[in-house]
């Protein structure tokens, strides 16, 4: 047998006959050519049943030519390589391609589920809603898995997709959606005018309808004209051409997404798919039109095909969709298709035109005739033709054929126009939904605007291109628009259906004309409700072929004009976009910028394990030979408390505040007073939100009369700066204050522990470190380890401690010099775990406690709030809700069992009976304290301070855990603060 029995001896401008490709479909080896789509390859090989339908598992073949395809749903690849729910018309053939028809087991041609087709009458519209009602407890175990198995599409891949996907963002003066005659003419006009143009088309080759049928432009072949124009565009540096790229979404302010899928054997390094974000000043929508089906009994059988697609397979691929065709329709395009098929070698059994009078002598015409019924079940064996006007006594005519090419007229692709919130109008006379007023800077041209003749498309495209370029100030280009002698308008009277039987409206979701009728009889009026009830138009083709038919049927059933029924909402995307392309850049490594402190190289060389803190990475701890995680962290704590440790605090937010009113502003910014600070001294400060909750905390240092340096937490550095700018720019613009984010300017490290004074004394010999000369909360400029630095005496660990800040480019030098100097002191670098353990031991709060719900008083910091003054948030503290009794307060929890460890996510409850009960509160921070030899927690507990001394339970019902703990002061260690002095 010939490898490609349905390939014509010649013809096919998209294929390269010198390069045969082998591919597998449902385990059978076939052959096609480079340039084929999977659909054309399957047709050439004589494969007619490509998939099974969604609900009835009826055999289905190829219906369309592109993204409108409702039937030929396939999965390519297996297991982790599986790519489900692709349209065979959109999959380019590649060497070794493996594809499978969907919705069938064991195969599309012999499918067990097909038995459902025999019982098809039992599954009307709303079947699932009506059948799977009660009992509700059957849902998870029975109904849902059953429906999923019955109704599923292709299988999800079994492993993450490791292919490369990409996104790009570009700007353009004019985006042209669609590269048919109108789109290319528009792009040419706009580009010649000098506009930056992006022209995107879903096909591998520009040409649109000219790919499917020949036409004449400027006294030559139409496709040749397109090629010449594309070559001219390609040579212009301000033009970008995107092939196999579908304009999928139209969003606010003329942002459009374009899904590019090179497909097949993309060049090495090219992404499997790329999502473009194009911000365009103006958009030309030249998206073409979709051919409508005719509704007759069996219009879903393999072998019934869109007429333009049948002609297209012959013209573009040299593929015969059948040997003997009946062409049927209600408009002049069927004659073009009949001639194309005939010249490719397909026998024309009959051409049935529902209109009377359209008799063409060289074709076997049946004027005023239409298809009533398809003969054959697994594939078309013939048709029954009848008179379209339903004249009595018409017995009909049986005609044998294996291809029924149908055209019910054309629906302009108004999707992008409608997505942009442009209004639509129904033209009763022409039976077309057409773009009306545009929503945004866009214009529709060509078939998308209802122009079906080639000459009109060219003229309208050209005009649209000129106008779109003018939006960005470009003058009308020289030259005339291209012309064509083709002025044949494919006007089609609204004529949809004949007879009874199974007349499918939505082929993908198996919605029949009877289903729409039933929905109307059951009281559905809104087209949106009918869509959801019947699932019409909800498939991956989004009703491109079915939408209009459904609309007309519903309007007829309700006895009202189509214009009153209206359309369902057009939402992006126009065609499915791979999730992986959407997720590109949002997952995995490279999702976020990584901020590293100046000493990061040292941490990495030392083998630190890192943790994320906002965009920063910080060492969690430094692993040690022969120690587990808790032992290593405990060693860092012990060595710091007994000797001296060093921690990288370069990630803290740092703000430089200057200006005549700096002190006054800080009194407004912080809940406590800052204007009373003396130069050279600092103070711990609380920032509140306007609603009285603690927003952030940090230290404010006064460096000069009108010069302050403040720190924010690592987590809130951006929000704090935004907050400061809001107050300065909108609330108190009269204040002369300049706030500068200097987080990146400074590196800082803290020396902590009783040994820190001796070490710093050697590193900064001219600095007097005595308590009198350099007291707590003082700041001094000094030379440390040979570097010009600011030294703050403050403590987060509870030990004698100094924070040393140097310009960031000297951070690594400071860090390494201090470590060298500290070798004789046993200087221990410690990470965020040890830092967190020491701060819990000291009861210092972080964002786990200041969680956006707590007031200063809740956190035991109420005394810090200055009573008077208009500072941010203070008025709110007087509101009854924030003063009431019974609020949760910060307490310490000392776990009684010394061996116990606290897991994350624990509640605090009154009883250990593990019965559901409202918790008293929750654990906010926890650690194992090597200093106290037990697990500790900070917790927010209802009336917590009054419960000091009580025993409560730390509970995690998820893991059936409960442990007793005593409520104590949150300051577990050195409550008197004697260790701050070394």
């Amino acid at each position: 047998m010939r490898r490609q029995p349905f390939r014509a001896a010649e013809g096919g401008h998209l294929i390269d006959r010198t390069e045969p490709l082998r591919f597998d479909f449902d385990g059978h080896r076939h052959e096609g050519y480079r340039g084929d789509s999977l659909a054309s390859g399957l047709l050439a090989a004589g494969v007619r049943i490509v998939a099974r339908s969604f609900k009835y598992h009826r055999p289905r073949g190829v219906w369309g030519f592109g993204p409108e395809e409702p039937n030929a749903m396939v999965t390519t690849g297996v297991r982790e390589e599986a790519r489900p729910n692709l349209k065979a018309t959109e999959v380019p053939l590649s060497e070794g391609l493996e594809a499978f028809g969907q919705n069938a087991w064991p195969s599309v041609s012999w499918d067990l589920g097909g038995a459902a087709g025999l019982a098809g009458g039992l599954m009307p519209a709303g079947f699932y809603y009506k059948t799977f009602m009660a009992p509700a407890r059957w849902w998870p175990a029975l109904y849902e898995p059953l429906i999923r198995r019955m109704a599923g599409f292709g299988p999800a891949p079994s492993a993450p997709d490791d292919a490369f996907y990409a996104k790009r963002r570009i700007h353009a003066d004019v985006l042209v959606a669609g590269g048919g005659p109108a789109g290319v003419a528009a792009a040419l006009a706009a580009a010649r005018a000098g506009a930056r143009v992006v022209l995107a088309d879903e096909n591998v080759r520009f040409g649109g309808d000219l790919l499917r049928a020949p036409g004449e432009i400027d006294e030559g072949d139409g496709l040749d004209w397109i090629d010449t124009a594309v070559a001219e565009l390609e040579a212009m540096s301000h033009v970008r051409l995107l092939r196999r790229a579908t304009v999928a979404g139209y969003y606010d302010h003329n942002l459009l997404t374009v899904a590019e899928r090179p497909g097949g054997e993309a060049p090495a390094g090219a992404p499997a798919a790329r999502l473009w974000f194009v911000r365009a000043r103006d958009v030309v929508i030249a998206a073409g039109a979709h051919e409508r089906p005719l509704l007759f009994d069996g219009n879903d059988r393999p072998g019934v095909m869109s007429a333009s697609a049948a002609g297209g397979y012959a013209h573009a691929y040299g593929v015969l969709a059948g040997r003997n065709a009946v062409v049927a329709g209600n408009n002049d395009s069927i004659y073009r298709v009949a001639r194309l098929l005939r010249s490719a070698g397909v026998g024309i059994a009959a051409v049935a035109d529902t209109r009377s009078g359209g008799d063409i002598r060289d074709l076997p015409c049946r004027a005023g005739g239409t298809v009533e019924r398809v003969l054959g079940s697994r594939r078309v064996r013939g048709v029954l033709l009848r008179r379209a006007d339903g004249r009595a006594g018409d017995k009909g005519e049986r005609i044998a054929c294996d291809l029924v090419a149908v055209s019910g007229g054309w629906s302009p692709a108004v999707h992008l126009h409608a997505q942009a919130r442009g209004s639509l109008g129904y033209n009763e006379e022409r039976g077309l939904i057409l773009p009306d007023r545009p929503g945004g800077a866009n214009r529709s041209a060509g078939a998308a605007a209802g122009r079906f003749d080639l000459d009109g498309c060219l003229a309208e495209g050209w005009t649209a291109g000129v106008a779109a370029a003018a939006s960005s100030g470009h003058e009308r280009p020289a030259g005339e628009p291209p012309r064509s002698p083709d002025r044949s308008a494919w006007e089609a009277p609204v004529f949809w259906q004949t007879g009874g039987g199974k007349r499918f409206v939505d082929l993908q979701y198996d919605v029949t004309a009877a289903d729409v009728d039933l929905a109307a009889r059951e009281g559905y009026r809104s087209v949106e409700h009918v869509k959801r009830y019947t699932a019409l138009g909800m498939g991956t083709d989004q009703g491109k072929t079915s939408g209009m038919a459904g609309l007309v049927l519903l309007s007829e059933a309700l006895g009202r004009p189509v214009a009153r029924t209206g359309t369902t909402t057009f939402r992006p995307p126009y065609t499915p976009v791979p999730m992986a392309a959407m997720a590109s850049g949002l997952i995995g490594e490279g999702r976020d910028a990584l901020r590293r402190t100046a000493a990061d190289d040292w941490h990495e060389a030392r083998g630190a394990l890192f943790t994320a803190a906002g965009l920063w990475r910080r060492p969690r701890y430094y692993p040690r030979e022969g120690m587990d995680e808790e032992e290593a962290i405990s060693a860092e704590v012990r060595e710091t408390r007994a000797g001296v440790g060093i921690v990288d605090v370069g990630t803290l937010g740092k703000v430089d505040i200057q200006g005549r009113d700096a002190a006054a502003f800080l009194d407004l910014l912080y809940a406590n007073r800052m204007s009373s600070l003396k130069t050279g001294r600092g103070r711990y400060g609380l920032m509140l939100r306007e609603d009285g909750r603690v927003f952030d905390d940090g230290v404010v240092m006064r460096l000069g009369e009108n010069h302050f340096y403040l720190t924010t937490t690592t987590a809130h550095q951006h929000e704090a700066m935004q907050h400061i700018e809001l107050l300065l720019q909108t609330v108190w613009p009269e204040l002369e204050v300049y706030a500068t984010d200097v987080t990146e300017h400074w590196f800082a490290a803290a020396l902590a522990g009783p040994g820190s004074r001796a070490l710093l004394g050697r590193a900064a010999p001219e600095l007097d470190l005595s308590d009198d000369a350099f007291p707590m909360m003082a700041v001094r400029a000094a030379t440390v380890a040979g570097l010009s630095a600011l030294v703050f005496r403050m403590s987060f660990s509870g030990e004698l401690s100094y924070e040393i800040a140097v310009p960031a480019d000297q951070g690594l030098a400071l860090w390494t010099r201090l470590l060298t100097e500290g070798r004789e002191d046993g200087l221990t670098p410690y990470g965020t775990e040890a830092m967190g353990t020491m701060r819990i031991e000291k009861g210092h709060v972080t964002h786990a406690e200041a969680d956006g719900r707590t007031t200063p008083d809740d956190l035991g910091l109420g005394r810090m709030v200055r009573a008077e003054g208009p500072g941010i948030g203070k008025r709110s503290l007087e509101l009854p809700a924030l003063r009431r009794k019974g609020r949760q307060q910060l307490v310490g929890l000392s776990v009684i069992d010394g061996e116990a460890r606290i897991p994350p996510g624990c509640q605090v409850v009154e009883s250990d009976d593990m019965k559901p009960a409202p918790p008293l509160g929750h654990v906010t921070s926890f650690c194992y304290s090597p200093t106290l030899g037990r697990a500790l927690a900070l917790a927010l507990v209802e009336n917590g301070r009054a419960r000091t001394g009580q025993t409560v339970y730390i509970a995690s019902p998820m893991i059936d855990l409960s442990m007793a703990a005593e409520i104590v002061s949150p300051v577990f260690y050195d409550a008197q603060g004697t260790r701050l002095h070394g």
Partner: protein, 86 residues
């Protein structure tokens, strides 16, 4: 996605900005003198109109200025954009 014409930086994507809420909310000049009701009105009760809305946007990844933007919450059409001043 909005394209916001920043008076300093030119038209920029919405992703460069942070939203700051209703620009029409006036902070009481003397918070201590405000009644609880007036204060909670200021804190919590803001208009949520369908249609034109004056609102604050912070050009976080640009000039770091707070802008007052007129935006139609129904169509997302932008009107005047200017520096925010009370």
């Amino acid at each position: 996605m909005l394209l916001i014409p920043c008076p300093f930086c030119g038209a920029r994507d919405e992703t460069e900005f942070a939203y700051g809420g209703d620009a029409g909310v006036e902070r009481p000049t003397d918070p201590e003198a405000a009644t609880d009701e007036a204060w909670t009105d200021y804190l919590c009760f803001h208009d949520n109109p369908k249609g034109p809305h004056r609102e604050l946007w912070f050009h976080r990844d640009g000039c770091r200025r707070w802008l007052e933007v007129e935006r139609d919450t129904w169509t997302h059409e932008l009107g005047a954009v200017r520096l925010s001043r009370p």
